[in-house]
Amino acid sequence: MMSQIRTLISILKHSFTKTDTVQYPEEKPYLSPRYRGRIVLTRDPDGEERCVACNLCSVACPVDCISVEKAETEDGRWMADTFRINFSRCIMCGFCEEACPTHAIQLTPDVEMGEYNRQNLVYEKEHLLIDGPGKYHDYNFYKVCGKAIGGKEKGEALNEKPPIDIRSLMP
């Protein structure tokens, strides 16, 4: 008897608590900036594509849904010729973001990706690329790597000495 009354009271009390469920899509829940949703490709602070097509995201991907093909510009910069994510396979695990050595690939708090046609879930590079640096504002891979590109010659990267004159006799 007592337990049934207690149950009733408990249930009645719940009727007055604030609901966690919201009326989606009229009302949208807050997702933190670190939430793992739709994947984007970002640009470095100079506005160039960050992705260097190193393939580390695709090898980290547990469902193998990222396919990258490398291209190279005339001045030596590596970039993705193809960057394709099959979101119908993606499990939003974020391993690609962890693996990315250039902070190019980032997950965003956008989860509204439903489609009627599965083919529409295949995102090419033009669909993935955004105009800003995303969550990491300052990182510029080519400023730390040793490869020379247009506008950054050998020895001009971070922590680099100027190129050695191999014909010099100085000690």
Binding site: V52, A53, C54, N55, L56, S58, V59, C61, V63, D64, C65, I66, S67, V68, E69, K70, E72, W78, T82, R84, I85, N86, S88, R89, P101, T102, R118, Q119, L121, V122, E124, F141, V144, C145, G146, K147, A148, K154, G155, A157, N159, E160, K161, P162, P163, I164, I166, R167
Partner: protein
């Protein structure tokens, strides 16, 4: 070699081969000993300090001393420790020091994922950089179409310069400056001259030298589906790994075969693969419709039916191919019949091939490894650097043997590289190069003899006489005496020649000399470089007098109704003037080819065939070694192997059926039976590595649905990740194919092969030797057409070039850049006597064809010889004449 000693590593006793160094012993035992500067083919340098271990004097010694294992020979009862704290600390410090200047490049480095430095850094436990200082940088050089140069990444192991200068004899690459300013490169930017420079990409433990054409269609190693193939760019038959992703052939890597190429490939083999990806590849069967002046695209079945219809009308002639697999040629031969099958080589070459195949059972045909072990060598009639490049590298190593013997007398082991070279200095085993002009091996030859073919022959006859009667020195020339003396004095003399000089008499003389040598010394050997990858198969399959010149005669006499040309471009052998009219006389021309060649353009029906990368096949190299090549990718579009196109006509539906027919019909091919008996294990083998990526996305751009991978019905290999992965294949003995890649736990780079060398040496995947059974009857017929050599006047001889000669290799853009312009090359005295100056045109005539080439003066060409590039020489024939030397109006 089978001597064993016992060594104790960290308290565990191991039995290892005596005479080797400790590092190699550890690797053979599958111990992960880090190293950079050691290389199995180049020995030890002791410069990287990575392989340090603690060596104890005896069981009582507790302190020990640090030694570099690559510089320490294994000794019986030796006690060493790899896990000793000091040794581990030393190795960790050494790698940390090496890495201080290494740039943050891995994501944009072609070597990443296939990098020995990455592997060794992790094995040594250096995973976090502590060094906060600045890094030294270097400017790069342009090294030509094959290699990228990125000197920042250099760790100073000296492997590149030891390979390029010491191993290959290159002199345009060196080491500059000192300590951490050290620089490896050329004195100034420019194309690397050596024909083996491409190996630097594999020799370099990190990404200083990387494969340039591969970088243009780059893919990480873990994504490359790889299969064991045989290089089809020359007759040596080097073993290669052909790597593919997404239907594009990306890269050729060396595949270790202890008997053939061991660790290195030539640049033609490494970069001559782009015909597979070429825009001129044929995709669908085409039929010419003359009435409507258009080309009809047929489907596979109606195309096959068309061939059957034409064939059933009778009067069919078929042309086989020297660049197609044995199975395809045999199927074509079976359907056409022997009398109607013409080999896709010139009559002269076929005559030489028949000489060779008839004599082969009496000669001991050497493998490249055995050539490296010879101690006297005579090279006759061609520069093998340009015709069979990997052979030239073997000959270069052969000349070191005298120096190695000299060092051995002091107790120096052959892998003590620096010490051996110090002792050897210029001591070289005798090597004679007899040719019309300077060879690329001139720098290591004891004597370079430049003579026109007729005098080459008389010199060989003198040598032959001297071998029979060594005392008749007074009637012979000085050169002949020297050659004969050295050949007779040697423990393992060898004679190397080739069919590319288009001179059957010289080949016959070489075979006779070799037979004489073999009677005197059973360790002597012979090697004859043939024209293309499978010319030897044509030599076995077809009779003499059934070459392309005979075909032309037949077309002239009475043109057949149907002509089936398989993978041979007739226009490479005959000029347009000759062929156009003759082909017009044939009612139906069927061309089976992979590329849209000139001949394919003349066809009434074109059937697209697969390249070597899309089909299985057997290839017979110049030493009669039959090797299997496995398809790397599935054939796409309407392409089929020629065996499949011809299956209803030949009655053989699979490669196995063709091979079984070959084994029954040809006594030389009877050993093929071994192949047929060993196939059929339950295991399947994966072509793709264990961590192949992007499988649900790579084709999603076209269709998001995932289709099953293509089926390979011809072998145990799968076009997917399913099956036994590469790193486990070498451990299991029951496999009938070589491993599909080089991987080893913790060793992602292809240097992992150095842990598998012992099992590789004993593997049975090194090919089947067709001429291994010696017959005692020495009744081979060495009669040749005596008129082939004009003894007086001027000889027009072929000038071979590594990049210009092979038909398929010239489709590669990187190789095209290095093809020299065609010239008529001669010495100054010859030009003077002809009255031409450098650059002026010289006119030639032969085989109903005339052409003009600009004169080029080159020293080291003998007088009485005008050199014409091989391609032009082939069209002129070996009875070409020089018509006029036209003096320009100036």
């Amino acid at each position: 070699m089978t001597d064993k000693v016992t060594i104790h590593i960290d308290g565990v006793a191991h039995e290892v081969q005596a005479g080797i160094n400790l590092l190699q012993a550890c690797l053979n035992l599958q111990i992960d000993m880090p190293y950079f500067c050691w290389h199995p083919a180049m020995g030890s340098a002791g410069s990287c300090r990575q392989c340090a271990v603690m060596h104890y004097q005896n069981a009582e010694d507790t302190r020990g001393r640090l030694v570099m294992s690559c510089m320490t020979p294994v000794m019986d009862g030796m006690i060493v420790s790899m896990a000793n704290e000091k040794a581990v600390g030393f190795r960790a410090t050494a790698i940390e020091a090496i890495m201080t200047n290494h740039p943050h490049d891995c994501p944009v480095c072609e070597e990443g994922g296939d990098c020995h430095l990455q592997d060794m850094t992790l094995i040594s436990g250096h995973i976090k950089r502590q060094y906060p200082g600045t890094k030294r940088t270097h400017l790069n050089q342009q090294l030509g179409p094959f290699l990228n140069h990125e000197m920042n990444r250099c760790i100073g192991c000296y492997r590149c310069v030891r390979f390029y200068k010491d191993y290959c004899g290159g002199d345009d690459f060196n080491v500059f400056s000192s300590r951490n300013r050290i620089y490896f490169g050329r004195a100034e930017s420019g194309t690397l001259e050596n024909e083996f420079a491409g190996n630097l990409a594999e020799v370099c433990p990190t990404g200083v030298f990387t494969d340039k054409p591969f970088s243009l269609k780059f893919s990480r190693k873990w994504d490359l589906a790889t299969s064991p193939t045989v290089c089809t760019n020359c007759s040596v038959g080097c073993n290669t790994y052909t790597a593919e992703r997404g239907g594009v052939l990306r890269k050729i890597n060396n595949r270790h075969n202890a008997d053939v190429n061991a660790h290195f490939l030539c640049d033609r083999g490494r970069y001559g693969y782009e015909h597979v990806n070429h825009n001129d590849r044929l995709e669908k069967p085409w039929k010419r419709n003359n009435e409507q002046q258009k080309v009809e695209v047929l489907n596979a079945s109606s195309a096959a039916k068309q061939v059957t219809d034409w064939f059933s009308q009778g009067d069919t002639v078929a042309v086989g191919s020297a660049r197609s697999a044995l199975e395809n040629n045999a199927a074509l031969l079976k359907l056409a019949g022997k009398g109607n099958f013409y080999a896709g080589v010139t009559d002269v070459e076929l005559e030489q091939l028949n000489l060779l195949t008839q004599a082969a059972h009496n000669l001991s045909l050497l493998s490249l490894t055995n050539i490296e072990k010879c101690d006297a060598l005579l090279m006759v009639g061609e520069d093998v650097t340009h015709t069979a490049p990997r052979l030239a590298l073997a000959i270069r190593q052969m000349t070191r043997n005298a120096g190695l013997d000299k060092a051995a007398k002091f107790g120096i082991k052959p892998w003590q590289d620096e010490a051996v070279r110090n002792i050897a200095q210029d001591t070289r085993s005798p090597f004679y190069a007899l040719n019309t002009h300077a060879t690329r091996l001139a720098d290591v030859a004891k004597q370079n003899i430049y003579l026109p073919p007729a005098r080459q022959l008389s010199l060989l006859l003198e040598v032959e006489a001297l071998l029979s009667f060594p005392d008749d020195k007074d009637i012979a020339s000085k050169e002949a005496v020297a050659i004969a003396e050295d050949l007779l004095a040697a423990k393992k003399p060898a004679l190397v020649t080739g069919t590319n000089g288009a001179n059957p008499q010289i080949l016959a003389a070489c075979i006779r000399i070799s037979t004489l040598l073999a009677q005197k010394n059973e360790n002597s050997g012979f090697y004859c470089a043939t024209g293309q990858a499978n010319t030897m198969a044509l030599g076995i399959l077809s009779d003499s007098n059934q070459g392309l010149d005979a075909l032309i005669k037949r077309l002239e006499d009475k043109a057949p109704k149907t002509l089936i040309v398989m993978e041979t471009d007739l226009y490479r052998y005959f000029s347009d003037d000759v062929l156009d009219t003759l082909l017009d006389k044939v009612t139906n021309i069927v061309v089976l080819d992979q590329l849209l060649t000139r001949t394919a353009q003349m066809a009434d029906l074109v059937l697209p065939t697969t390249s070597y990368a899309e089909s299985h096949g057997c290839w017979i190299n110049a030493e009669g070694r039959l090797q299997q090549s496995f398809a790397t990718m599935a054939a796409i579009k309407a392409r089929l192997p020629a065996v499949q196109w011809l299956q209803s006509l030949s009655g053989c539906h699979t490669n196995e059926q063709v091979l079984a027919w070959c084994a029954q019909t040809y006594s030389e091919l009877a050993p093929v039976q071994q192949l047929l008996e060993t196939s059929g294990s339950d295991f399947v083998i994966a072509r793709q590595p264990l961590r192949s990526t992007g499988r649900t996305a790579i084709n999603a751009g076209i269709d998001v649905k995932e289709y099953p991978p293509a089926q390979d019905l011809g072998s145990q290999l799968e076009f997917s990740m399913e099956g036994v992965p590469a790193f486990r294949q070498h451990q299991l003995k029951e496999f009938t194919s070589p491993p599909t890649g080089v991987w080893s736990p913790k060793w992602n780079s292809s240097q992992g092969i150095n842990k598998q060398l012992e099992s590789n040496d004993s593997s049975n995947n090194n090919g089947i030797l067709l001429f291994a059974n010696k017959t005692t009857d020495a009744s081979s017929n060495l009669e040749t057409d005596k008129s082939a050599i004009s003894s007086d006047g001027l000889s027009i001889c072929p000038n071979h070039h590594i990049y210009a000669d092979d038909e398929l290799a010239t489709y590669s853009t990187s190789i095209q850049q290095l093809i020299p312009t065609a010239t008529a090359t001669m010495c100054q005295a010859q030009a003077d006597s002809l009255g031409v100056k450098n650059g002026e045109p010289v006119a030639f005539k032969g085989k109903g064809h005339s052409l003009e080439l600009p004169c080029a003066i080159m020293p080291d060409v003998c007088e009485g010889v005008v050199l014409v590039p091989m391609q032009q020489f082939r069209q002129l024939g070996n009875k070409a004449t020089l018509t006029t030397a036209v003096r320009s109006a100036s």
